[in-house]
């Protein structure tokens, strides 16, 4: 059985409880055991790091050490968490002296981080550890007829140098591969790998919402039924802020945004309500209706 130390992130424990529910439900369906790190802290999302990078490094090292204490690889469900965790990991690997200083602090609670922990977003786990062939065999409700746009979130893609591009050169194609595996078709759009605008929301609202609105509009224009994302921060800007983005950009947008585990869950036959798909700001009803209707093509 596959087993991971699970860092759920702040958003799945706050404004996106549907992501937390969907992840646990889908993991059970796939036979993946998750041991939740309920005392790990926020990664800092790059924001804490602007004021206090050392505090960010120490807190992330603490999370890594907790996973190592369990003897398990670390799983996250957030592109931003992945990026920050990979960045801190890279920094600690390159600076053994600095890492030793952090370990001296962690020793107070009996923790120690040894560089080399495997840290993976659920998307990477799906493709690299679980395997798409195996996933395909579990699909009981292929998403045939649905056109889905992949939306990665910056930090799971860039900077690619610290995100395992050498060992796994296709990581920037995984979402497309997963979409096809569950039977849907991919909507290829330019915004797919760009920024959702979320980090700017409280600083420059207009720019933030223009970014979100442009991407949604582009995908919708190309015939997308939904966007799927492995990042709950993108989800917040694309789903929860979609009505505001509509107002700012004046684009006539109405596009459901789903979390990656929700898309997998749908294909594995999990009931949408078990993944709180009825609790999105942009209704997923249209999408679910299309899925329930007999395929026309």
């Amino acid at each position: 059985m596959m087993k991971y130390a699970f860092w759920p992130g702040c958003v799945s424990k706050g404004a996106a409880p549907e992501l937390y529910m969907a992840t646990n439900r889908v993991a059970r369906e796939m036979g993946i055991e998750l041991v939740e790190l309920d005392q790990a802290t926020c990664t800092g999302a790059g924001v804490l790091q602007e004021q206090n990078p050392e505090m960010g490094d120490a807190l992330n090292a603490r999370t890594f050490a907790m996973a190592q204490q369990l003897g398990l690889p670390l799983m996250n469900i957030c592109s931003t968490c992945q990026g920050i965790e990979s960045m801190v990991q890279d920094k600690l690997t390159k600076n053994p002296e600095y890492c030793a200083k952090i370990n001296a602090i962690l020793a107070d609670e009996g923790l120690h981080y040894t560089p080399g922990l495997e840290i993976k977003n659920f998307l990477w786990i799906l493709v690299e550890d679980f395997g798409l062939d195996r996933l395909k065999k579990l699909v009981t409700r292929p998403l045939r007829g649905l056109r889905i746009g992949p939306f990665y979130g910056c930090y799971i893609l860039r900077p690619s140098a610290i995100l395992g591009k050498d060992e796994h050169p296709d990581r920037d194609k995984y979402l497309e591969m997963v979409i096809e595996t569950v039977g849907a078709s991919v909507v290829d759009f330019e915004g797919s790998k760009k920024c959702c605008g979320f980090p700017l929301l409280t600083i420059n609202r207009e720019n933030s919402l223009k970014q979100a609105g442009n991407h949604i509009h582009e995908a919708q224009d190309l015939g997308a039924d939904a966007l799927v994302s492995p990042c709950p921060l993108c989800h917040l800007n694309l789903d929860a802020q979609q009505p505001a983005a509509k107002q700012v950009t004046q684009y006539d947008i109405d596009l459901p945004i789903i979390h990656l585990p929700q898309m997998i869950g749908l294909a594995l036959g999990v009931e949408p309500t078990e993944m709180r798909m009825d609790h999105h700001v942009v209704s997923t009803r249209k999408l679910l209706a299309k899925l329930a209707a007999p395929a026309t093509a």
Binding site: C10, G14, C42, G44, M55, D57, N207, K210
Partner: protein, 334 residues
Amino acid sequence: MKVKLKVQRSGPESEGVRYSNYEIEAADSITLLDALIEVREYVDGTLGLRCSCRSAICGSCSMRVDGQARLACRAKVLALTNEDETHEIVVEPMGNMPVIKDLIIDQELFWQKVRQVDPYLQPVGDEPAAEYRVPNETMIDLTHTMNCIMCGACVSDCTVLEVDKNFIAPAALAKAYRFAGDPRDGHQHERLEKLSEYSGIWDCTRCNMCVEVCPKGVAPMNRILQLREMAIEAGITNNAGARHTDIFTKSISDGGRLNEVWMLPGSVGIFNVPRLMKEMPGALKMMRAGKLPIAQTIPPGFPGSHKMRGMDRVRNVVRKSASLKAPRAEVTES
């Protein structure tokens, strides 16, 4: 090998944008720039492109290759095409700047932004008798930005510039760090104050695109983050960006996880009623969808605020991590 190119064409003599397809035979070792020059010299003399040094020093030949800005002289064709040589390499002019012809863009916007940050050293006081002495680590740190060859790749692919042409953008901000971060400069505070204004350092969305496309390892976004840290240290905190880092840090130190409810009022200011009102419809929609975390309604630091289990251990790490901070370098006279 067979090289297939699909090149975007446009210019003063033609309306709109079209693509030209070229196919040439070439040695495995050639760069994309070699291929384009070959096309211009022997296939289609009307193809417009800029180039000079051919060795990634002059920064003239940046363009979008398969959707991403890069130097054509640094792109090996072999690495761009696929094994059966069927992949068509898509070559387009850089983004965010107006096209003059084909792959040649107008750089005025780029230079205008660089000039905006006063890109020269401004020491104050009397000149030292011998020379300024700057610590080695500081100069090594600054060499990141000195490596910039002004190719414009970061400006081309900047995702904020796409929606806001006023943003100073990565290249100029990296250049600003080169001087604000130099201990010999005497106008650090004024520089940081100016950079903290609208369209400056806090308007970067931290998407890492500039880090990814920069061919010289300047990593402009990381320089922007250094400027943000310096601005906060210098006490220039009366802006949404600095307040955002503050409420973020407070939230993690207080409760371990983020208090999402207080992020917005904490950043824009709790008395900024017009701005907060803009968020009311959104907040109500989130509440209706059951997405407003009720447990987080008490602000971080106040009695009863939401906390993770085991916060005493988190606080210990927070407190002790302050000792990890390295002091900032100072200039000395010899």
